[in-house]
């Protein structure tokens, strides 16, 4: 399923998210199960399936990492079930440093500035990766797409790290 087609967008990494949300609502109005509450079982089932597809399409296009993954999949580069890991040593060193910082949070007397600092570093690095990703996806060259796949992998690492930071933050409040 090409989600760009479903939402009538040309496949591109930069998309108008407000327009995406508007089209999502229009599609929902057409197929949502609540429009078929009084209809036959067949129609209800069909509506649930189509709505699920539209929901998935929206989530995919809305999220930069998933959008990039979807674009790459449409170009024949499937990242969804892969086990390839990032081999960039510098990147891995940085990851380890950040992970150590995460562990320090729970021992810290004043954790708030540490948390805020990490959020900022993460955001800055993610923005950098995303910018590079956008440029690589715009390219016509297959070699660039493979590099784009590497950026996606790194962004996934960052998303995990980000989750762990919010979890550490939660633990402070509980």
């Amino acid at each position: 399923m090409n989600y760009f087609e479903l939402f009538r967008f040309t496949p591109a990494f930069t998309i108008d998210t407000a327009l995406l949300a508007e089209r999502y609502r229009e599609l929902q109005r057409a197929v949502h199960p609540d429009k078929f509450a009084n209809d036959t079982e067949q129609q209800k089932l069909l509506s649930v399936q189509r709505t699920a597809q539209i929901n998935d399409g929206f989530q995919t296009l809305k999220d930069p990492i998933r959008r990039a993954e979807h674009m790459l999949a449409l170009r024949g580069i499937d990242l969804s079930h892969e086990t390839t890991t990032v081999k960039d040593t510098q990147f891995l060193m940085q990851q380890m440093e950040w992970r150590e910082a995460l562990e320090d949070i729970s021992h810290s007397q004043v954790p708030e500035p540490m948390i805020d600092g990490l959020y900022q570093s993460f955001a800055a690095y993610q923005a950098e990766l995303t910018q590079l990703l956008a440029a690589l996806l715009d390219s016509e060259l297959q070699a660039d797409w493979l590099l784009a796949a590497d950026q996606v992998r790194k962004l996934k690492f960052m998303a995990k790290l980000h989750n762990e930071l919010t979890r550490a933050e939660d633990a402070l409040f509980d």
Partner: protein
């Protein structure tokens, strides 16, 4: 104003006919029923003018009492008088007994560990008790509105898991009531408020009821209510405040073990004190023992607030998480809405106001707002307002996952994903010739299976015997708009559809439901076969009406042969629907479904295209 009503050809019922539908708030402490009449939404009162019905059911040897009457006997007959049954829905007996509370009931366990109440009428399960609460509400609605209900919307806490939702739906099924939708309570409240104020933006609904706590963050935009995130605790509510106060009094009076009667009496007194402390700064609690002696103790507002402080703090923690999941800050929240009787507690109000930084809305009675929202939704779903642009986009409150090696959870659908949702996951066999595979579905956020709630176990059978790793099984998890899960599976290389037996861990099996249905029929001196026939006849009429309208509108999508085949199947259904063979009707519906599958699919695709018609293909 149309002077002439033109009916669509082939539509039997007058299209402008008002259909009867109600919204039911099936609460932990109180339940309500509401409906839309001549454009006005209101809760319905009983013959004595009382709107709410205490969610209390008493089983005596020869009768079932519900509501106020049952409440009268609560202290004298705690064994047979079930209060707060909602807290037992979808839970295992082990779950309940491992909690901090003690109960006055005598429990038994069903085959799969569900709690059964041992009463003067034998054992009853939470679904049956809930059905008894629904029964008088449905009767009240049918008497007031003067006809049979075409459908109901029942509200559930947003944080209810699959088993709890299924149990609620099963309770309605026992009464033979058609459930148009299970609606999340905070979403219902948002509808009641949102349609009222016509505001647009982000709103937070803080719902603290008798037994459950929910926080939902929604975005309102041109009739679309989009739930961004939801959180909470399906076992935290005003009941817990009562129990804390009960324990406090028990300690103050140095009462050792309590008899069930005295325990219930003390609980009722604790509740009275809690309610009085909403207005007063101190209240005198008293209890008369069986020997006639009178115990007294003064409880101050500060005492009470110290007792409940940690619970209230827990709810604020959930608010913080929900905001973060929604990706909005407290400043961006336009309004906060309070729902549920426990939001009358001053400390709760203060804390919510402090956290969101604005005074919460309470203009609609917090006890009625959920039922009113449900009634508005029921009116639309049943088809009374075809022009309505209201649309609810809800989310799944807890992540769904499956057990993998080592007791770990692999997430399949993460929490706060908009529903309906479908996710496919691929699995492979690990032994040569393996023909079956067992799965365990859990719901929760933790990484270990042991820390999540077990939802269902199922076994895939009929996998073609192949070498290890050669069979690829694609399992699709689908969650519908009610938040209910269904699972289908297929072996990819052969296309063999594997059969699945889903055994709900904390729900009722199909056999148990069929048995209960039979039981309830005997009570009503009704005939199960007659009801099944009537249900199939209604479905047949629905299928024919819907198809006639579809053919009238989009008949040109079919070629002559396709049309002929559909017409023949329709004629067959019309014939058997007029007779009394239930199986024949079911088969004729299935045959017609098969004939129209492609037509229906084409029409759905057409409406998707039509929805974005006129929009340019380009994004920028």
């Amino acid at each position: 104003m149309a002077l002439l009503q033109i009916a669509e050809p082939g539509q039997s019922a007058a299209p402008h006919q008002h259909r009867l539908a109600v919204g039911i708030d099936l609460g932990t402490t109180n339940s309500l029923v509401a409906t839309v009449r001549s454009g006005e939404t209101a809760t319905l009162a009983d013959e004595q003018g009382r709107h709410s019905l205490p969610s209390i059911v008493r089983y005596t040897q020869d009768a079932i009492e519900v509501g106020y009457q049952a409440a009268l006997s609560s202290a004298q007959d705690p064994h047979n008088t079930i209060v707060s049954v909602k807290r037992f829905m979808g839970r295992s007996l082990e779950d309940i007994q491992s909690g901090p509370q003690s109960f006055a009931y005598e429990f038994a366990a069903s085959d799969n560990g569900l709690p059964l109440f041992v009463t003067a009428q034998g054992t009853v399960n939470p679904v049956q008790v809930s059905a008894e609460i629904l029964r008088p509400l449905v009767q009240r609605a049918e008497q007031t509105l003067g006809g049979e209900l075409q459908g109901v919307v029942i509200t559930v806490p947003a944080y209810f898991d699959d088993a709890q939702r299924q149990g609620t739906k099963d309770a309605a099924a026992l009464l033979g009531v058609k459930v148009l939708r299970l609606l999340n309570e905070p979403t219902a409240a948002a509808i009641a408020y949102g349609l009222d104020s016509k505001q647009e933006g982000v709103i937070a609904i803080y719902d603290l009821g008798g037994g459950t706590f929910d926080i939902s963050i929604l975005r309102l935009n041109r009739g679309v209510f989009e739930v961004l995130a939801t959180g909470g605790d399906s076992a935290l509510g005003g009941d817990d405040f009562d129990h804390l106060l009960q324990n406090h009094l028990q300690q103050a009076w140095q009462l050792p073990g309590l008899s069930p009667q005295l325990g219930r009496q003390l609980l009722i007194e604790a509740r009275r004190v809690k309610e009085a402390l909403t207005q007063e700064t101190s209240v005198l609690a008293s209890l008369t023992l069986t020997d006639g002696s009178l115990l007294q103790h003064t409880v101050t507002k500060t005492d009470f607030e110290t007792l409940i402080a940690s619970l209230v703090k827990k709810t604020i923690g959930s608010c913080r998480r929900a905001l973060r999941d929604a990706g909005v800050t407290a400043d961006e929240v336009l309004e906060t809405v309070l729902v549920g009787g426990s939001t009358r507690v001053p400390l709760v109000r203060e804390q919510v106001e402090h956290f969101f930084g604005k005074p919460p809305l309470t203009s609609i009675d917090p006890d009625k707002v959920v039922a009113i929202g449900a009634a508005i939704q029921a009116d639309i779903l049943v088809g009374n307002k075809p022009e309505s642009d209201l649309l609810l986009l809800d989310v799944i409150p807890l992540s769904l996952g499956i057990e993998t090696m080592g007791g770990l959870v692999e997430k399949v659908v993460s929490r706060n994903t908009t529903i309906p949702v479908a996710r496919a996951q691929e699995f492979t066999t690990f032994k040569d010739g393996q023909t079956a595979m067992a799965f365990h579905v859990v719901q929760g956020e933790r990484e270990l299976v042991a820390d999540c709630r077990s939802l269902a176990r199922f076994t895939l059978k009929g996998i073609p015997p192949l070498a290890a790793g050669a069979a690829h099984i694609r399992v699709t998890f689908q969650v519908d708009a009610d938040g209910l899960l269904s699972v289908t599976a297929m072996e990819k290389s052969t296309g063999v559809q594997a059969s699945i037996q889903v055994k709900p861990s904390f729900g009722l099996s199909d056999t148990e439901i069929a048995l209960m249905l039979k039981d309830s029929m005997q009570h009503a001196k009704d005939d199960i076969a007659r009801r099944m026939l009537a249900e199939q006849q209604v479905e047949a009429a629905r299928v024919l009406e819907s198809l006639n309208a579809a053919l009238h509108k989009d008949g040109d999508l079919l070629d002559a042969a396709e049309r002929e085949a559909i017409d023949a199947a329709m004629t067959q259904l019309v014939v058997v629907a007029g007779q009394d063979d239930t199986d024949a009707i079911t088969k004729a519906i299935e045959a017609l479904d098969a004939q129209t599958q492609e037509f229906a699919s084409k029409r759905m695709d057409n409406s998707i295209r039509a929805a974005l018609k006129g929009q340019s293909v380009d994004n920028i």
